[in-house]
């Protein structure tokens, strides 16, 4: 057991913090606020280039594809520090781990450097109107036509569809096969003719959620595919193995800083806030009930951190998850909800003031969190499905 970051990693964290203090300016934060965490305005792109120049994006990816061949934990540190200020950089959710695991040489050479330069980003095209948690029920079709596939169907809650360059698309390639065995993954440029994106506005849009909000996304999308012709070389992994390639991507996606921070940032925020704010003489920091709850939340947040560290330790050892990623995905989001709802009871009526309100607290982030925190227990595998996985895959319990 070793729970320490190496001296080099501690230095890296310091360097990243200094970089953020210097380059992540209020203008950039305002731009992120305006365009959404997952999009990038011109100033943000400039800053992002500086991050890339320092070799901080794709640290754990192999050198031959533009990465640093470094450790997953170094990458985590960079993502964590940027995540704390509400700016997303590279790494998790990029699709890269799955491309590295299942992609062709050509795909790796094309996508990874593009991801590092910030020219490529993926929208996750899994969910459909009739297939969310029960993903294997998806109906979007990809039919082979010589060297091409023709795609028809619809995707739903595709958050980055309007800002990403590509969609990481899961489609049915063999309707006759058993549900899980007739699915393939395609990496499809969003500009391909026949793709239409329609916005879906979330409950965080009016007024807009502040950038650090848990699931503060103002917009997601529906994506329609009408006779979309793509070269067969867009396929990731073997035909009809998409379920497994996709599951690999999701599992790796659950490991890392962004998923972790979603669930624990409000713990740090509220403790640091009550230390500085006495609410007109109330002094919540000296209220014994509040103190007990804050300590309880802190402990649970530590468990979130340690479960993330466990997952990363497993990855670093080259081991495979049996249930650890899923366990993390049950515990952390539910903790985030508990924290968010506890904060509401600490702040009382001030806790309801949204981002555009006079007298709001911390830009309304706590109020907006009440509309977003529960979402993290739904997206990318619901807590209920995750519990199924812990029980069945981890504990070997029988199927019903």
């Amino acid at each position: 057991m070793d729970f320490a970051y190496t001296p080099e990693q501690q230095t890296l964290r310091e360097e990243v913090r200094q970089f953020i203090a210097e380059y992540v300016t209020p203008e950039i934060l305002a731009e992120v606020e305006e365009s959404g965490v997952r999009s990038r305005g011109p100033k943000t792109r400039e800053m992002y280039q500086k991050v890339a120049d320092r070799g901080w994006i794709g640290i754990s990816w192999p050198k031959e594809y533009g990465g640093q061949g470094g450790s997953r934990i170094d990458q985590y540190i960079v993502e964590e520090e940027f995540g704390r200020v509400g700016v997303e950089v590279g790494g998790a959710g990029s699709g890269a781990p799955a491309i590295l695991a299942a992609g062709t040489e050509e795909q790796k050479k094309y996508f990874l450097p593009g991801l590092i330069r910030g020219e490529i980003s993926f929208a996750l095209g899994f969910t459909e109107p009739q297939a969310g948690a029960d993903l294997a029920g998806l109906q979007c079709r990809a039919v082979r036509d010589g060297d091409e596939f023709v795609i028809n169907g619809q995707k739903m809650y595709t958050t980055r569809a309007h800002s990403g360059s590509h969609i990481y698309l899961m489609a049915r390639t063999d309707p006759e096969a058993p549900r899980h065995k007739g699915i393939s993954i395609f990496l499809v440029p969003m500009e391909t003719p026949g793709i239409t994106v329609r916005p879906l506005w979330t409950i965080q849009n009016d007024p807009p959620a502040p950038r650090r909000t848990t699931y503060g996304d103002r917009r997601t999308n529906e994506v329609f595919f009408e006779d979309v012709h793509i070269p067969a070389s867009c396929m990731l992994g073997e035909e009809n193995t998409g379920w497994y390639v996709g599951a690999l991507g999701l599992n790796l996606d659950r490991v890392g800083a962004s998923r972790y921070l979603l669930s624990v940032q409000r713990d740090e925020d509220i403790i640091n806030w009550v230390k500085e704010n006495d609410m007109g003489g109330y002094g919540p920091s000296q209220d014994p009930a509040v103190r007990d709850r804050l300590a309880e939340l802190w402990i649970e947040a530590q468990v979130c951190r340690l479960m993330t560290m466990r997952s990363m330790s497993l990855v670093e050892r080259g081991g495979t998850f049996t249930y650890e990623g899923s366990a993390e995905k049950v515990w952390a989001p539910e903790h985030g909800v508990k924290t968010t709802e506890t904060i509401a009871q600490i702040l009382g009526a001030y806790g309801q003031l949204l981002s555009s309100s006079e007298d709001n607290i911390e830009g309304g982030v706590f109020a907006h969190n009440l509309m977003g925190a529960f979402q993290s227990g739904i997206n990318h595998g619901s807590a209920q499905v995750m519990r199924d996985q812990v029980a069945r895959r981890g504990l070997g319990m029988p199927r019903g």
Partner: protein, 391 residues
């Protein structure tokens, strides 16, 4: 950063498990509940031969000089097997002698503990059960070459078989300089000591110990006069994290029994483990015990690195109290009426884990320590920070 046990650590744990599975069946725990001594000397001697009691005692005193983590991994397995031995109560004061005792005290105590020929215990709690210096009211008054101890100590583990007891006493009122506490190593056969066995939930051996004008040589003072709170605090932290390890081990075995039961018990035409409501309970139980284990390991690691660890210890114990309890309660629920039956073994684990939640600090006490550090110290806190400011 690698939070999983290393190969060596895992090996020590596996060997301990193998040994205890063979040597300490639940039957033994049941028998010892009714036994006057409360432990089987044969098992105790075998453990001594394996070097377990001296695991973290320096090699100069016949120990193995290994980090506390190794001792904790053994105690995790002891918890798993609910082996009825005065292991925890012996190593806790012994390690305090190792860290704070005089050379004479070390020579007198440590080799014998390593060899298994000395059973020990320690006494801190009193009528005010909190683990705070102000709760210590038992007096030790200087008289020539002796201190004279008078007072009542509660919940003293295995006092019935202990030869020596490390006792926290008040030697002065609390002042700006110190808490006025001193620690004494007392032979339990000293005139003036009497004890009454307590009947506990875990059916373990705890005593109420009365000290009536008990004369203890001055040479038995452990640490400095009036500075004993520092010694006691370190001892309590060590005791607490080792108890957390035991709780994690016992809770893990307990939920494994419930998961196994759920896979086999058929109701409504299928194993109850095929119902999602049951599966989700089992998933949660696993997640809780995993969390307790990770927190415990981190606290141990910090201690072994010589870093302040009191906040990490409190994190682990508060979480163990709440979540190991919830896990073993869920196991009882999953077993239905069977778990309520004396002849069925599950309650052996339930009763111990539950009792341990009340030992060495309640959730409220530990969370108070944490909030004090997080809130009352200046500066921003963040998760994963090197050092949480200590209150």
């Amino acid at each position: 950063m690698d939070v999983l046990p290393s190969e060596e650590e895992q090996m020590v744990k596996n060997l301990a498990r193998e040994f205890l599975e063979a040597e300490s069946p639940p039957r033994l725990a049941r028998d010892m509940e009714k036994d006057d001594q409360g432990y089987p000397p044969e098992l105790w001697n075998k453990m001594a031969q394996l070097g377990w009691f001296g695991m973290s005692i320096p090699e100069a005193y016949d120990g193995q000089g290994l980090p506390l983590t190794y001792l904790a991994l053994i105690l995790e397995e002891v918890g798993r097997s609910i082996a009825p031995v005065p292991f925890h109560s012996t190593v806790v004061p012994a390690l305090t002698i190792a860290s704070d005792g005089t050379e004479e005290q070390r020579q007198e105590v440590l080799p014998r503990v390593s060899q298994g020929s000395l059973i020990m215990t320690w006494a801190f709690q009193e009528q005010d059960p909190r683990l705070l210096p102000e709760a210590v009211q038992a007096q030790a008054v200087a008289d020539g070459d002796h201190y004279v101890i008078t007072g009542t100590k509660m919940f003293v583990d295995n006092f019935n078989v202990a030869e020596k007891c490390l006792v926290a006493c008040r030697t002065a009122p609390a002042s700006a300089d110190n808490q006025g506490i001193s620690m004494f190593l007392v032979n339990t056969n000293t005139p003036g000591i009497s004890h009454t066995p307590l009947v506990t939930l875990a059916k373990d051996k705890q005593s109420k110990v009365e000290f009536n004008q008990v004369r203890v040589p001055k040479a038995n003072l452990v640490g400095e006069l009036n500075q004993g709170w520092t010694v006691a605090q370190a001892m309590l932290d060590r005791a607490t994290v080792l108890l957390c390890a035991q709780m994690v081990g016992a809770a893990r075995k307990d939920i494994e029994m419930a998961i196994e039961y759920a896979k086999n018990r058929v109701a409504f035409g299928r194993p109850i483990g095929a119902f999602q409501s049951v599966q989700h309970m089992c998933a949660d139980m696993t997640i809780w015990v995993d969390g307790a284990q990770l927190l415990t390991y981190e606290a141990l690691w910090k201690m072994d690195e010589g870093l302040p660890a009191s906040i990490e210890v409190s994190q682990a114990k508060a979480f163990c109290n709440d979540k190991c309890q919830a896990a073993v309660r869920s196991s009882q629920v999953l077993h239905g009426g069977m778990g309520f039956m004396m002849e069925f073994d599950l309650h052996l684990w339930y009763r111990r884990v539950t009792a341990w939640t009340m030992r060495l600090g309640t959730s409220f006490e530990h969370r108070a320590r944490i909030s004090k550090a997080l809130i009352d110290q200046p500066g921003k806190v963040w998760l994963g920070m090197d050092q949480i400011p200590v209150a």
